[in-house]
Symmetry: D2
Subunit: 342 residues, 4 copies
């Protein structure tokens, strides 16, 4: 987990960047602010909320419309889908860099966005946006003016599959992603299905099959890596945890691939990654290994015949949201990629 090209130039190391956070009171916004406060090169200049006037620690909160965009180097958007894209466009126009944690910039086509999210795209001129999963596409993120930060399910499923897709090793059989996620992924808004008594003692599959809005996003990223891979079957499950997400992915190799050759691709892809811990062949990842931490844990296990069992555990609010946003921010500004994250 060392990474040769991450050393900052002395000039960069001395720099402090001013940032703003839009949407500071949700789970991702709160954690982002906590992480930014410990970031050695960041000065949190403003934070916004439409509902509250201050954070618990007293930090004042502005309405988004009053945020002094012109005074910051970058903004992080923890805003609802459909709203975030418009703010991103305004920021980009003002020369402010953007890490967008909403879904607005993740799909490359406005038409697919409309079909998936059932609303017009708020900023089609920004598409396609650089896709902020550094381990699968770091180059386009350096110096990027804006970045679409992927969500938790997508991050875990893609990290589980990336080395195989990059190598073109996936057969055309369906790829099955059975994920288990903590409740914070549903956000802070009170909803019946997020109440303690609904979740406690339960494991609940939801939107299984191809119904979940993240299916097009995962397939978009996979197909760019390997156009002939199989279709995705996605089955998310809600489990009684606050944070954490485990993706258990069942993928079938092309005929000329073995388990060992497949594992060698994982070693090649992840050995030098500062935020990925790859388990020895045969050891599966578990949530406890990744919860409260900023990276991901990946495991490769034997299934049967040419079908493998790939596991990826992350903290859904960290590598699945706010920590990844900071990783992207660091790349954008040429800072050490893990600044503020270790």
């Amino acid at each position: 987990m060392t990474h040769a090209h991450l050393e900052p130039s002395p000039a960069v190391a001395a720099r402090t960047l001013r940032v703003g956070v839009f949407g500071a009171t949700g789970y991702t916004g709160q954690l982002l602010i906590e992480l930014l406060r410990r970031h050695p090169h960041v000065n949190l200049h403003f934070a916004t909320s439409e509902r509250e006037r201050a954070l618990e620690d007293g930090t004042p909160l502005l309405p988004a419309d009053s945020a002094p965009l012109a005074e910051v180097d970058a903004v992080f958007l923890c805003l609802p889908n459909g709203v975030s894209g418009g703010v991103a466009a305004r920021a980009v126009a003002a020369g402010v860099r953007v890490v967008d944690l909403s879904a607005d910039l993740r799909l490359e086509s406005a038409a697919l966005y409309e079909q998936t999210y059932k609303m017009p795209h708020p900023a089609p001129q920004l598409l396609p946006a650089p896709y902020g999963l550094p381990e699968i596409g770091r180059a386009q993120l350096r110096q990027a003016r804006y970045i679409a930060n992927p969500g938790c399910h997508v991050t875990a499923v893609l990290l589980a599959l990336y080395p195989l897709a990059r190598a073109g090793a996936l057969s055309d059989a369906p790829i099955i992603a059975d994920t288990k996620t903590g409740v914070s992924g549903a956000g802070k808004e009170p909803k019946p299905e997020s109440m303690f008594c609904e979740v406690y003692g339960d494991v609940k599959p939801y939107n299984v099959g191809r119904r979940h809005r993240h299916v097009p996003e995962i397939e978009q990223a996979l197909r760019k890596l390997q156009p002939d891979c199989g279709a995705l079957i996605f089955a998310p499950h809600l489990v009684p945890l606050e944070v954490g997400l485990l993706a258990t992915v069942y993928a079938t190799l092309k005929p000329d691939w073995t388990l060992e050759r497949a594992y060698a691709e994982y070693q090649a892809a992840y050995a030098a990654e500062p935020l990925i811990a790859l388990h020895p062949l045969g050891r599966a990842a578990r949530i406890r290994e990744a919860a409260q931490r900023n990276g991901a844990v990946v495991g490769v296990s034997e299934g049967q015949g040419s079908t493998l069992i790939l596991t990826c555990a992350i903290d859904n609010l960290r590598k699945g949201a706010s920590a990844q946003a900071i990783q992207n921010f660091n790349l954008m500004f040429g800072l050490p990629e893990t600044a503020g994250l270790l």
Copy 2:
């Protein structure tokens, strides 16, 4: 959920059977005793334990060797694998009927048992034993002298697949069973991996692939229903629940099958089953629907192409152990199948 041939004869209904429970202090033994106490046709005559002398409510416990086998009509064995088979053989020899909750009588061949459990079979003369999953083979259980009661993972996976396997609808692609289970399935013995602080906040895959001891048992049952079905990939996950088990099964249909035709098989198989609730097509089962209850909940959902998502939720200690044992006992003695269970 009505079942025509379950009406008891008046003679039977009036009868009270004397039973004994071997291994009364584990989770399945405790719950079994609680269920037997409310059973209208049962008198609990003795219960055994090697470590304790009384249950919490004062019921005396005998060492197994002192149990008055000759005085009961039937015994339930909640004993360790390797021990249970021997007690079963003694009971059968004494003319006492047996429901064995251990794994000893579940595999049909002593050789496969030795290979799977790494010890000689304690009572090969009892093999093959009637397999106590009533919904897939009720006929052989009526009047049976002894019954192998299946475990929780196996019950859930088989109930998810049975209607398709019975109809010969499964392709030869691997069948993937991703299960999520509560901690009581690991038993009452203090173990590091069952400690509160190990389980809390975690989801942990274990023995994934073909390594779990239940793989041969599931395949044995599936192959009897459909010899040409695919091999099993089994990935159990420990989740922070006390009771409950969800099997999410991904199965691929033969080319001439549709989702609707497949669902019709579930309706045909389960509509009249008193202990199975079949969800409408497209609704997945969740643990909360089955926890603390004696039956199973089954769902059939669309996956992609010919791959379906089948879900089965049970209480691992009830339909996955003790309640199913009573269901088998009822069948054995010609009692109403759900006596003591509704």
Copy 3:
């Protein structure tokens, strides 16, 4: 736990009473319906809801205004405070007996109600109502036309103190009740403070001191038993459980009382109670002993000097709400007190 005067007359035992439930979709309403369905002398004739048209199992739900009051023998009211009292008055006027699970009939004076609940009393003509904690006042509940069913905190605290208050043993030092309660006590309505992520991993004191609305109700009951007892300090704590409530009560004896004499009062009060389990002196009650059960568990432990530690565990939805409502109903109609509860 046997109770001599609970045997029903043959006439009563054969009877079936028709009942209605107002407010069927909250936690107490749902559980009440589940319990009533297994009650041997009850026919559930209607259930109401303003928001839903059917229960999960298909039982139709009526708006309260359409409920055929005239067709039932009794109604259970699981309605909001301020609404329930009015429905109670209508039912009583129609000759239908009432068990009211709201707070409306619990305080004996309309003035105290107004001061506590900050609204006018909806049915002052029904005050004072028979108070439905059978163990401390069974006589007035037999044949009662309507009953105020106490809530969970109050039930647990009063059962912990009753034998001492009845004997006049409490000094005038403050009585401290530190309670720990599961989240279902807060009801089914989505609220920020009942969300999974708010409760998980936390223990939270709320409305401590004399601020909780149950303080006047507890003191009202205590003072009727012993007018010179000390004032109540009440500190409820929310813990991450679905159901269950533990009251740990610190009470000081008058000078001439010893621990042993105090314990003898508990034996005298509770030995014959069918729904109270009294622990041996020195063993404290815990939630696990009472959760999912219909009775209460009481413990008496030594504190220091003349201060005792009294513990009472209940299931907040059962002995703290719905099961107690059925116990009261049984008393009202001369049925066996534990019918449908064991």
Copy 4:
């Protein structure tokens, strides 16, 4: 929360101290190592375990007997009671400073230790040891050669009471400490009562009254502050959390004290404390505010008459163990008191 005298001299700030940890594999040892690794002035030189040869991250573990005591500036002892004191004595003799997280050095008299822990004291020559609760006695910890690090219940109860005891404000009425603690406090050793299925869904009082071994330690500290304070009634409760402890303390003021005057003592005692957050008068502390953090949260609420409700929340493994050990270490060596802790 600023603290004037905490600025290190430039000499100190540049220093790196070599430390060893005895007992690295328990919960406190593991966390201590994690915290020490981020400490700016510490080099972890060795860690010991009798059972394991390496930590999960590969750090080698030595048997305690092979640890190179002479090579370090200080050792932290996370060893069993009765063992730890002996190691402490050896280290002190070798001129190595000691922070002992066991109970061995906490009581000031060997006789009281024997009576409390039912074994001879392993190192009576070290008694009385400086008591490592910095907020109540920082002066004696600076430059100390060895320090007794208090446990989690004691820390929380003393922080709740300290300002009153220091001011002599406590009456002679019993002080009641009702604590709620997570399961990690019971240690990592597999025990029946720490199993997931025993703890889940429960709240369990244990060793209530005066039976817990921490009663003499709390009273020893209180009486040094205020010799005429009342006796302690202590009722710890196990709750289904991994980490966190809440002490709810009921204390009675002397006649001439008011709530406001009492609160002023809390402000005076804690306003400048870097690791104590004092809530506004009337707001109680909750576990969520302190879990995963290194400090304590204190609340003062009105009870009734002269009885107050004092709350203190800590992370039992941090301010209740390992973080406090580092705070003590920092004091010992003249480092900034919060080095490695913010």
